[in-house]
Symmetry: C2
Subunit: 424 residues, 2 copies
């Protein structure tokens, strides 16, 4: 970017060209979109050395700037991660094109035919932190779903992101598509974010990818709709009628398979009838695997053999993303549901039970993006659900809930066919 | 409301009880919800005289306060309108219950079954102006779709709305449902609106019903998602390959059937090949019916026999809601689509053509909530589309687009069934 251009003016240019480009990509054929994805994959592989060079420069700067080890780890690219970005694009190319799908056409008494057609959202703004692979993943999903994209990565990854952006431009060009379909914002000025989130005339929806504080900050100031991914404070309720082996297996997996994922169980609720078989079995596994337990008073007395810390009021609402679990003994299904509604984050919650009506009540009454019966909360993931790929997991209720794939990046318009039909 | 209670505190009470009530109505059976609708209908009919009395008092005050004749007209109730509100509720009772519908269940390679269940949104806030019948219509639709509602009508209709609210309470009570499921805000203090639109912990979505300025004001300050209905600047493009009779019939209907509805055609685009047959025929009808025409230079010269005023730049963007139409001659389909994208409001736009590819391009490329082929834009309506009833017409892209019926008042959660399934 020419430094003489004002950031606001620059973002207007970006916005205007994104809006114009959105019309071109909305009508592009599936073959053309797939060609752009394949060509970008090839460009990434070809320019592998250059991307790694630019990335190394970012990493050097990040170390000089004393960024956290976790952040530097997320920033770092290898030949392997670049190859995996390229393969990700090829996988997206193989997914069915959601655009143009016509559903529910039916003829009305007036003679008109009415139905719905799936169409792109328009322009999608992505605001993200250090991981440079988001540039490729997000651009690929938005492109396949017929949207233009404005991407704004973290300043610590600026050089990596621009190197990747050049590959996407090359891919678009090779497919004879406008390079403005995917724009990676070239300024690291914070005002750019302010412009993105307050201009509905340019951007139809913002998807922030990053920590909760980033997302909350963006949502607070946005005038453009935001698809949010906030907490995943996931619960498993082991019902009175749970199968012992299933309960133990699922709770173990839901907590310990991976600690840092949003679908990890953070809170275990156990029916009081099962505190002598299920609870000690699970507690032993947690103790063996070094999972810190924080329990209610009753849990602490039942599990006196273990070092169970008292759970604070705050613990019940906390997404630990760590080898920590809160445990509560409840007297019935209602108490379990009440607890989940009060302290949960409406992300993913599961019941372990063989009791038909308890399963049905849990399914219907727990108001979460994903509600599971006899399955590990760690399944909460677009790939596991069969979406092929995901741009994120929504904790919103409107538009898209839970894992968001290509369909979540589209909307439906009404279509009406007549033969000169007029309304009476 | 006890005048000693602070408005903010009062709105917290309303919000908290709405949130609690939303769980009760979400799990209510279809039979119970229908019973509440039927009982409310009966209560309205029984208390007809009382409602008319309270309404007369509102009307007297409105006249004293010198409100506009149009506003007083919207405020006024008759025995007939009350009967029609009651019948509206009976119709809503007869619509299929959207809640609980399970779709797309399929088995994944991991063994889990994944699908979606339709569920209520939670708590819906309705903010509206003088029409008291909105109280009944909105409450009925929200109730049937399993949501709790907080309604805030205009101060000019306060007594009418409270009389109607008492009928709804009676209906809920007779069906053994909590009266907090539908709450009509009792204060006319403007702070109440501010509280409604900034508390996502109490309200999941706001639906404003009223003029554009009300909706824009609410959207600007809202922290809760808003389903907006802004302009309906609808276009009809008469293509080179239009059938003459269909073009004339549809354009006449789209403009003159009713002038004040959002689906009325406000702008007519005519292909230059049809300025000697289609255009004069339509212009004659408009002239005969007293529709003021504002045209581009070419239109004015072609229609020199009529008094066509020059269309200003602003006219192209204007939703007249009156016997006024803007007319432009275009040289091809691209110019028509460009014009619609530039000046339109993405509400409803139609093409009149017998040309397959032109129809397909228009259908795909015009980014409006409703896109029509050879049909009058005045069909843009929930009843005409077969929704049974509508709470409004959305001009948003996310969540619900175009006419919003029961389905638009719900969302889908993911459901996962396993048999002790764990993620690898």
């Amino acid at each position: 970017m020419n430094k003489l251009i004002d950031v606001i003016e620059y973002m207007h240019l970006v916005g205007r060209s994104a809006r114009a480009a959105s019309r071109a990509i909305a009508r592009a054929s599936t073959a053309q979109k797939n060609a752009a994805l394949f060509e970008t994959a090839i460009a990434l592989e070809k320019r592998d050395a250059h991307i790694l060079e630019e990335n190394a420069a970012d990493v050097r700067d990040a170390m000089k700037a004393d960024l956290s080890a976790a952040m530097i780890d997320r920033l770092k690219l290898t030949s392997k991660t670049i190859a995996s970005m390229a393969n990700g694009l090829r996988q997206i190319a193989q997914l069915p094109d959601p655009v143009g799908e016509i559903t529910s056409m039916n003829t009305r008494p007036s003679g008109i035919q009415v139905g719905k057609m799936r169409v792109p959202l328009g322009v999608i703004g992505i605001i993200y932190e250090s991981r440079p692979n988001v540039t490729v993943d997000a651009a690929g999903l938005c492109l396949k779903s017929g949207n233009a994209t404005v991407l704004r990565g973290g300043s610590e990854a600026a050089r990596s992101n621009q190197a990747i952006a050049a590959c996407i431009s090359a891919g678009l060009k090779a497919a004879k598509l406008s390079e403005s379909i995917v724009q990676v914002v070239e300024t690291t000025d914070r005002k750019a974010v302010g412009e993105m989130i307050t201009r509905p005339e340019y951007i139809d929806v913002i998807i922030p990818r990053g920590g909760k504080s980033l997302i909350e900050r963006i949502s607070a100031d946005a005038r453009v709709p935001v698809i949010k991914h906030l907490d995943g404070n996931c619960h498993i309720f082991v019902d009175e009628h749970a199968d012992l082996e299933k309960a133990v297996r699922v709770c173990d997996n839901a907590k310990t398979r991976r600690y840092g994922v949003c679908g990890a169980m953070e809170s275990l609720l156990v029916h009081e009838a099962r505190i002598h078989d299920v609870l000690p079995r699970i507690a032993k596994i947690f103790a063996d695997k070094g999972v810190e337990m924080r329990g209610c008073e009753r849990t602490r007395s039942v599990l006196a053999a273990h070092d169970v810390k008292p759970a604070s009021e705050e613990d019940w609402s906390t997404e630990f993303l760590a080898p920590i679990v809160s445990i509560k003994i409840v007297t019935n299904l209602d108490e379990a549901i009440d607890h989940i509604e009060r302290y949960g984050s409406h992300h993913t919650d599961a019941i372990i039970t063989e009791h038909w009506s308890h399963a049905q009540r849990f399914l219907r009454e727990v108001d979460s993006a994903s509600v599971m019966i006899n399955a590990s909360t760690q399944f909460a993931d677009g790939f596991e659900y069969g979406l092929g790929a995901e741009i994120g997991i929504s904790t919103d209720k409107l538009h898209a809930r839970g894992p968001v794939g290509l369909e979540g990046l589209t909307t439906q318009k009404w279509i009406v066919f007549g033969d000169g039909a007029v309304r009476a």
